[in-house]
Symmetry: C2
Amino acid sequence: MPAPLTVSFTASHTGPWAIDRMATVVGEGLPGAERLDVREGAGVAAVAGAAWNLHGVTSHLRYTHKNEASALVAVQEGLGRAGATCAALIPIRKSEAWWSLAQDDRRAIMEEQSRHIAVGMEFLPAVARRLHHCRDLGGPFDFLTWFEYAPADADRFEALVQALRRSPEWAYVDREVDIRLSRAG
Amino acid sequence: MPAPLTVSFTASHTGPWAIDRMATVVGEGLPGAERLDVREGAGVAAVAGAAWNLHGVTSHLRYTHKNEASALVAVQEGLGRAGATCAALIPIRKSEAWWSLAQDDRRAIMEEQSRHIAVGMEFLPAVARRLHHCRDLGGPFDFLTWFEYAPADADRFEALVQALRRSPEWAYVDREVDIRLSRAG
């Protein structure tokens, strides 16, 4: 468990990732752009001329229990795999109703009712992902999740996203943008 | 549950709170200063000429269960009470061993073993407090807790602090500074 790492996602006309499509799922969208740059440890400074610029920090596990964490570690793979030329960045914000809940209520909705951790595990190791927290940073979203997968796993990734969006947990999501990207293999 | 509020604690030669004493409990200390200013919503910019400057954000409950949250709301009082002319600012950092634990393990150490929430509740409403998170902000501490109490409750506050320091949870605290303050009544 390393110290929190600040990660910046900057949409403009440069960057290794081509933005193939952007969909506003709920709430306000984000301006369109051609390319995305992902920078680690660059701080939260704004980038001049960017269409948008989102920051988050990797952090400790907020809901995952020990048995789940062990299972995740055993099967998940890291970012940057050579064949994983598809990516998704999905910024979400949750409602005040969510944040007003106590920890046990949030955990119950997230896992016992929505099986968020268990569902995600079904798609490992095909879909690698990293969660970035940003609610405490004061940005417009609460979480930025980054996913990487091979083109052959695109249908599986779609199934994962749809399963989560159908869950009781997602009733608390009041802003969501779905950004799909690709890079040269 | 309002949105996260950024709070800055600035030690220098000005501010409404007189710093009466500063003790380094474990790890590295902080430079001495005469006065403390507490500003809400001021952002995380550095303050020129300050001895030190710490920022944190109020946030949602990370461990508190619903029954505990209800009990807290019923009995706790807010900051800024006229008679609460004593204050303490206690910045702490927890070890990597703590942050590597899963959520259920951290909750078990904090409450089932250390009774952190229950112990704190015994000192309500005499001791009002506000927790500020700062691990995700990249500062030198993980939490800044601010306490306010009347001079007549100073012994009770001391008992609260000592009870927490004796708990199993505190074995994971690797930096702690205890700053005691007062203001004109």
